[in-house]
Every structure is written in C-alpha cells, then in structure tokens.
Subunit: 379 residues, 2 copies
C-alpha cells in the first residue's frame, strides 16, 4: 500500500494536504479530512499527563457535537506545552476550518504532531485553509497522509472492504510514526474513515479493541508521546443495517478494523526511526494475555536487546535479562527462547514461558546509530 497515490476514500469522505509553511523544509504540513455526511466519531488519546492542546479541544468538540464533519491535522509543531494560547490557537484553527467549509466549530476535530513547547503559527495555517479546502478530493488520501508525516519516510495508508448484508463497507486509515513510539496508547496520529453505519457505543468499543491489539503492541523507543491520538469517523454512507451489538456482521467489521490497525502499526515499525530490522516478538505459554504482553514489551524496550539485534549478535542473555526484568514470575528452567537468523531484515523471536496458554505478539525495531543521529538533531 506504500506510496499508492490513488486511493479513493470511503463514500462521502474527501481529503487534502498542503504546505502551510510550518515546517522550515517547505514540505506538506497541513491535512484536512471532511465528510459530506455527518459522522459519528470516537477517539483514543495518549495517557501522558501532559497533553497537547489538540487533545483538549478535540475532546470538548467530541462531547458537544454528535455530528462531526472534519478533522484538521498539522505536522511540524506539536502545539503542546504551549499553555492557554496553544488552546486558543487550536480553537481558532477549528473555527477557520468551519468557516471555509460551512460547518460549526464543534464539528471540527484537530490533531497536531511535531516539536513540543513552541507556539504554533496561527496565521500561516489560516492563510493555507482556503487552498486546503479547495483541494479537497475523494482521491487525495495520499496528500493528507503525507502532510501528517514528521520523520516518517513513507506515507501510511491502509484500506479494507467488506460486505455487510449486501452493502459494501469501506475503511481507510492513515497514520504517522516514527519516533516517540511506545505502547500505552502510543499511537502517534491516526485517522480512520469509514462509511459504515454503526452506533456510537459500538464504535468506541471496536476502536478500543482494535487499538489494544495493534498500536498498543508496538514500541520504537519506549517514549510516550504527549500527542498520540487515534480518531475514527463513520458516516453511514454505505447504508448497511446499523451495527450495534456483537453478532456476525459486527464481528466482521471489528475484524476488518483490527486488521487495518495492525497493518498500520506494522508500517510504523517498518518505518521506525533509524531502523534496520523489523522484529516480531511472540511471547507464549503465559498465564494471561496481559502478562505475555508485559514480557514482550520488556524485551522490546530493552536497549541492550535492540542494540544486539542491530549488531546481528544472538545475545540470548539479554532476552533472559529482559524477561526477568518484566517482573513476571518465571523460572529459568521453564524458559525456552528461539531466535531466527539475524542476517535478515525480519527477525522473529519466540519466548515460551511454559506457564500457561496465553500469548501476545509485539513488534519493534532495532536501536541504531541512525536513530541517535535523527534524534540528536531533531529540533
């Protein structure tokens, strides 16, 4: 799906992306998604105690309005740790988007990503809004995905299509990585659009489930962002019978959403800052799913494990140390570890705790000098 520039959005959705001049490089930095039909929306945000201005504003709008119509996203500036003026600026941006698109301010959600602690230039964004609006098109998915990018090397777009009672339902998700990625709603920015007809409560439920098994199973550097946000907008344009409670069709949609999120999550790992390896860590034989996940994340966040993977150095001892550091009760004699050959880009590590029947799969990258270079210079 990489760099596919002609992906049509689900029914009723349009997107655009332009350069507003927030990034000094002149690269695209402002994206807009609009639905012609009012949407039900749900979102999950970072659990970091310091939250970006867009989270406060989007939460307010999600509470006030049951007919969301747009999401505006800027990259190049996180609008975080920017105090009351940061919030005022975020509100002004939603106001500007509303004005250009004949909407109410509360119908517009907002997301930001980039450097923390600097005021966002409102004028630059306001000046770009008319062009951004004029560019809206049901096939400009790539433009929007590209304008969300920070250190990402490729735009991340994933689509799914399914039948619900003879109606075709479409999903399209766009996301950005690529550093400050850690589980615990470590989800970078992601927007999922669908023309499915689904109830508000069911929407929140399927989103939570999908995020738990995808974005919350990846880690690049164990660093929890202040801006992480996943949005889902659904406009019922597919005219399928309303999905409300668990059942065959409900599960079908839920599975499609899970698989879409997992594919986006894997793309983020594939594009992790400085990464040379794509590492799949399967922890099995655990007493529970959460314990399997805890062990997997402990390994995935170990700098020593990650540098060994970079060095193609089968240092199993570091896996052992990270398993024990997870604080899950485990016996040395029960532990079985299998590591695939390290001279490949894709590495598979299987850890069997031999303590139960549950398993979890975590994805991560290696830790490389390039990661350090990118992050020593990023400012």
């Amino acid at each position: 799906m990489k760099n596919n520039k002609k992906i049509t959005l689900p029914k009723g959705f349009k997107a655009a992306g332009v350069s507003a001049g927030i990034k000094r490089s002149g690269r695209p930095d402002l994206a807009l998604i609009v639905s012609d039909i009012p949407c039900k929306a749900a979102a999950l945000f970072t659990v970091n105690k310091i939250k970006a201005a867009h989270i406060k504003v989007s939460k307010k709008h999600l509470k006030k309005s049951r007919s969301i119509r747009a999401l505006v996203i800027n990259s190049g500036n996180a609008n975080c740790f920017t105090g009351k003026s940061g919030i005022r600026i975020a509100e002004n941006i939603t106001q500007g988007v509303a004005k250009c698109n004949n909407l109410k301010k509360e119908q517009v959600l907002i997301a930001s990503t980039g450097i923390i602690g600097r005021q966002l230039n409102l004028n630059k964004i306001k000046r770009a809004l008319p062009l951004l609006t004029a560019n809206l098109d049901s096939r400009k998915t790539f433009d929007a995905a590209r304008a969300m990018m920070t250190t990402d090397r490729f735009a991340k777009i994933v689509t799914r299509k399914l039948k619900i009672k003879s109606k075709t339902v479409k999903l399209c998700g766009i996301a950005k990585g690529a550093g400050m990625i850690s589980p615990n709603m470590a989800t970078m920015l992601c927007c999922i659009m669908s023309d499915v007809s689904i109830s508000q409560s069911a929407l929140k439920k399927v989103l939570t489930q999908a995020v738990s098994n995808s974005f919350n199973c990846i880690t690049v550097d164990g660093c929890m962002s202040t801006n992480d946000s996943v949005f889902i907008l659904t406009n019922a344009g597919a005219e399928n019978p309303l999905l409300d409670s668990p059942g065959k069709d409900f599960n079908k949609f839920s599975q499609a959403l899970c698989s879409l999120c997992l594919e986006l999550a894997k793309m983020i790992i594939e594009d992790a800052e400085g990464a040379r390896k794509f590492i799949r860590i399967e922890v099995k034989g655990a007493p529970s799913y959460s314990q399997a996940k805890q062990v997997g994340l402990s390994i995935a966040n170990s700098n020593l494990f990650k540098t060994a993977m970079f060095g193609e150095n089968a240092n199993i001892g570091r896996v052992v140390a990270a398993v024990g550091a997870s604080q899950i009760e485990v016996k040395e004699e029960d532990l079985k570890i299998n590591l695939s050959p390290l001279n490949k880009k894709k590495i598979n590590l299987v850890v069997n705790l031999n303590k139960g029947k549950h398993k979890a799969v975590i994805y991560t990258s290696d830790l490389t000098p390039a990661y350090i270079k990118i992050n020593a210079e990023y400012n």
Copy 2:
C-alpha cells in the same frame, strides 16, 4: 580516586586480582577479598526474576554463616541462565577459595559479571586460585577493582575515614559498571569493606539506606541486570564501641557509607558505556521523595532526552513528555524547567513540579552511537 594504585584496605582486609583466562582478551578477570578477622556481612541483590547463580549461592552462605571471611568475584561471564550446573560451578569456586584459605565453604561469598547464558569454565578458575591467594595484599585494592571490570574504562575505588569515640574507622568500596544499569537495585557489582564494629541488623539497615540514595538513583540504559549485587563486609577491627541503634556515631557511619556509595554511583555514570555527558537531574517541588524519583527516572530513561543531550540540543519538549509519561499528576502551568548550557561535559537539569516540598537527584548519561557500537558487538 581514579587509578589510585596504592589504596590500603581497612584493617584486616586483603585483596588480589589476576587473569584466569575467562576473558579472551587476557585481561584480569578474577578478584578475591579476604578478611583475617571474621566479618558480619549484608548484601542486596537485583530484583530481576532471573538471578545469576552467584546470588543463589551467596544468599545460602549468608544464611548459614555468621562469620564471612571472603568474597570471590569473576568478570567475563555472568554465570546466569546456566541452570543447575551454573550453581554447582559457583559452589565449587567457593569450595576452592575456602580450601586455599583454610576456610569453610559457607564463609565465602561469590559474585559474577559478564555475558549471560554461557557456562563458566570452572577449571580455569580453579587453576588460578593458588596464585590469586598468594597475591593477597592489603594494598592490592586496585588489582581487585580492575579484575571486576567488564566494559568499564577505569577501576572504581572510594574510601572514607571517620572517628568513632577516638577509634579510626575506615571504609573502602570497589565497584564496576558500566552498562545494563538501571535503578531498582541496579547496582552492578560492589563490595564495601569496613573495619567498623556494627550489629547485623544495623548493618543491613545502613546498607539499604545507602543503596537507595545512590545506586538506585542512577541509570544508564534502564536495563535491569540479572547479576546486580552489593556486598558489605565488616570485621570490627577498628574496635569502636558496637554501633547498634540510631544515634550520633551510628549516623556518622551511615553518612560516610552513603557518601561512599554515592561517589561510586557517580563514577559509574561518569564511565557509562559510550557516554559523553554526565547529567544530573534534580526534581523538586514534588509531593513526596518517591514521586520526585519517579519523575527523575522517567526523564533519565528517555532515549529521546538522552539523544538530545548527546546532540547538545536543548529540546525541553522531551523533558516535558518524560515528566508526563511518569504518570505523576502534574499541571503544565506549574512545570518549570531549567537546563544548563549543553556544550559542557556536566549538564544540570532542574525540574520544579511546584506541587510540594520534596526533591530527588538522579544521575544519568547521554545515549550515543558509541553505546550502540559497544553493545552491538559485546558477546
């Protein structure tokens, strides 16, 4: 104190260090400390659920014997994840040391550091024990400290001297770093020798306190070791009145021990793998000491903060993100952050939460390409 090769140990203690051939490089890898006078001993070990063989054996001997006489330390092999034969080998080494020094096996403690998951060569160690014993000398402190080293660039020795009721009491601590350093008894290997007269219960108490404020306030890479151990041996050779319960003299000794441990801890950070910067993080205005520490460690373990320090990049946003990621309740508007100039080796970061009166100081290093090089190749 670096490279001071003529440090006399406290009364009754002797040390030695030789090359047993465990390290392929031929560098010293076997150290021995013996006290002519029986010792009270206490120890703290890693909380990693996977523990090295030496921890199991030392714990057993500490329980069995109230008159410890020796500690043998090898580097180059962690003797961890080595199953029952690992334990058998560790017991055999204490047996060998006992035989050479006319002791009981239970009077000998043991510690190992190095690569995890490989069997330790017992024969090489046994062959070296006679020479090691013959070399024992009250001034061979440096030899022992050097033989503990793994990736350390310098031997770490710290001494203290104090008067207790006209008697001179001496302390000497030796330690090794330099990677897989994280708090939570992330204390690498350390042995403290003293001729103080102190009760068993008081000894455990002062050691716990000293470690909490020193070794547990440093982090290099957030990776918890399987082998971390701090030992203290006291032989009452100074003939001071027994220290048993809190009071002026007790506190004086406790303070000397704390300051010795803190100096060793700072040496470990100074010598952290690949480090270019020595970073002091002071978190103040916290509701409690433990919350201040939690915030400090969250910053100190953030790869993004550490790479920014390496890049001399005053990216305050990453400090903000790490403060929030600590999960301590904090308000953006209360947070005050001060960072000293970054073009120096020593960096001072002060974070004021403005939420209370407690503070904690954490020490860490930057994350550099050299750290990755060392750990990509270490095997």
